[in-house]
Assembly symmetry: C2
Homo-oligomer: 397 residues x 2
């Protein structure tokens, strides 16, 4: 029989044929390479390219004019080519964070072929890397007990649909007997039940916070907030369609109306504490909007509410009983003294003024809430920070 | 407060900045587009590129000379550029299948920026699309009941490690009371616990076979067969390292020795039928090798064994009690009359002759097995077919 030495070699060769071109010319490129001083070197083998740039959130932003006003977008810098056709760029020393980037090859935005760590955000795919230390250590997989992550389907009688969600259960859940509190964690516009677990690093953040004793062990339920969708793109019978921001029935009251179906499923399928003081709801952007309106519509369900860079009011033409009697419902909700009503937003967020207005409303009525403001805007970096701050405040008494 | 019309528009704009360049020049490109005649049109906006090609398994293969002999690799064809800078290629009419592809832009292999459906195979990432019909309908998410997919961690006392695995539970598992049979499904060299669920479309195949009444509802456990690894790249405390084929302790008897730890975990954590007639083990390539050696080492554990394009013998220098007394152990295994010993391989597989030799050995000893041979070689297309054929033969009596 054929010598099995050949087995590994031939397989390896097979793979190389499929892998990056640089393999033909020697050893595989390392990109990104985190240097000891926390600068990062990026490399791309593209001997025929005229220009290679890199764009990412580790670079200073640039301000551009758009039809909707001035906006900050990630900057781009040029890589330089060596005589072997390898383009290279080394960043400044970076502070601890999970960063993202793409290459621009003669203007074409691509992912780094040497870096398999990619995340989808709606219809964009970018690479990630982590500069270790401080906050970023919450985003890494560390040698701590790990929870489980499951993709489940639940029946929503209100929507008459089978729908998909993602559930994090903490270490020890499966082999224990106790009941756990639940955080319902909602995505933004264009997102789905994959957004928090992938972009938000929910499992890593929860594993690490729980291991450090900073957060109570809890179940985290990540729903799909697009009421017209059964599941994330590619995970439903709609086939392999291109993801889009422009989904119907996202902020029209439908998801909020159907939300008790999610709670019903979770409370029938998991060992959970089924009372207001053991339920939290939070979300980013549209998911913050959903959290706001769900928590006031059902004032007896949630003792913890988190609005991360939240949209506040429905669009002007939207008609739904969910959005009627806003002030009266808020009054009822706050009269019941939620244990934590947490609002967080970045100074540069395009929803900043909407949140200022909303806080004024709460202040004018003497409603009790906690506010956190930091820099930058409507970005996942902030939402990971907010989750890392919010989770430790939950279920502590 | 700011009109929330602006909210969707501004967010949409944000995303576009991050998305493909083509969005600047009008509507987003559609790529791939499955045409009514099942030809497929691929598009890429790259006005500055000199040459754009596409390579994928839907194209005729080309034979190349390598240090290990002649090998078939996917062919490549050129796209043509229009006056707007959009490159385009339309394939021949394709038969139903899940296909993969990459673009080559001036020789640089990239994924299609318009197609978020990408799968990693070891260190390569490619796009996929599905031509519907026949076998390929098993690979699509259809409007049928869906099982759950969980990533779990188990303790392996034998390896003194916490290790990750992927578990498919069939529709109805969570809310039922009955016990289920288990298929242990093992990956090949360079793979991990993500390989079968992503490349192998295990959840889709099982959902569809079960919905059609062709397979019994069963639990499918997808392990990590690299005994030096806790988890797939990026999922362990090793950080975001580049995946590699060259892992230690993959075919040295370690994984086989520790396999009872997996069974122990599954049987303590799931409602399963804990006897030989309700356990199956199968795998591809190295995973077929593992299945072969685990099933003969523990002849009372598995009544169903599937070798998909399997490696047979260990490498010459390998020393492990697992591989000692091969013939004697096989004799014991077959004397216990496994219900199904299934061998499948493609005619072009580089392990074809090794499997011919192995079948001769089985024939010479009068051992009962079933053999399936089809075309092509050592590719995921075949392994999806083999799983689709193997699962319906399991646990039928």
């Amino acid at each position: 029989m054929k010598n099995l030495f050949t087995f590994a070699l031939a397989l390896l060769f097979c793979l190389c044929v499929h892998a990056q071109q640089a393999l033909w010319s020697g050893s595989p490129l390392v990109s990104p390479e985190i240097n000891p001083d926390h600068s990062v070197t990026f490399r791309l083998f593209a001997p025929n390219a005229q220009q290679v740039e890199i764009t990412g959130d580790f670079l200073p932003q640039q301000q551009i004019d758009t039809p909707y006003g001035q906006m900050n977008v990630p900057g781009a810098v040029a890589l330089t080519k060596d005589d072997k056709g390898v383009w290279q760029y080394t960043s400044a020393s970076l502070s601890p964070e999970l960063y993202n980037y793409n290459f621009l090859v003669d203007g074409l935005k691509i992912t780094d072929p040497s870096n398999v760590y990619q995340i989808r955000d709606v219809s964009s795919i970018f690479n990630i890397f982590i500069i270790p230390g401080e906050q970023a250590d919450l985003y890494a997989v560390n040698a701590v007990p790990h929870g489980s992550v499951a993709r489940r389907w639940y029946n929503s009688p209100t929507l008459d649909m089978e729908r998909r969600l993602t559930v994090y259960t903490p270490p020890g859940y499966e082999n224990g007997k106790e009941d756990y509190p639940v955080l319902y964690l909602l995505h933004g516009m264009g997102g789905d039940e994959e957004a928090w677990i992938a972009l938000g690093r929910t499992a890593q953040i929860m594993d690490n916070l729980i291991a450090q004793g900073k957060a109570k062990p809890m179940i985290v339920v990540m729903t799909n907030g697009n009421a017209a969708q059964e599941a994330a793109p590619g995970e439903s019978s709609q086939g392999l369609q291109a993801p889009t921001m422009q989904l119907p029935r996202t902020m029209d009251g439908t998801f909020e109306t159907a939300f008790p179906d999610v709670i019903d499923f979770v409370e029938k399928n998991y060992r959970v504490q089924k009372d207001k003081s053991h339920r939290a709801i939070s979300g980013l952007s549209m998911g913050g909007f959903h959290s706001l309106h769900i928590s006031k519509e059902y004032p007896d369900l949630f003792d913890y509410v988190g609005l991360f860079s939240a949209a506040i009011l429905p669009m002007n033409q939207t008609q739904s009983p969910i959005y009627d009697n806003f002030d009266q419902k808020l009054k009822v909700q706050f009269a019941k003294n939620p244990k934590l009503y947490w609002i967080a937003i970045g100074k540069d967020d395009f929803l900043y003024n909407a949140n200022v207005d909303y806080r004024k409303k709460l202040d004018n009525n003497g409603y009790n809430y906690t506010y956190f403001e930091n820099g930058e805007g409507h970005i996942w970096k902030n939402w990971r920070i907010y989750l890392s701050m919010f989770a430790p405040m939950l279920f502590q008494d």
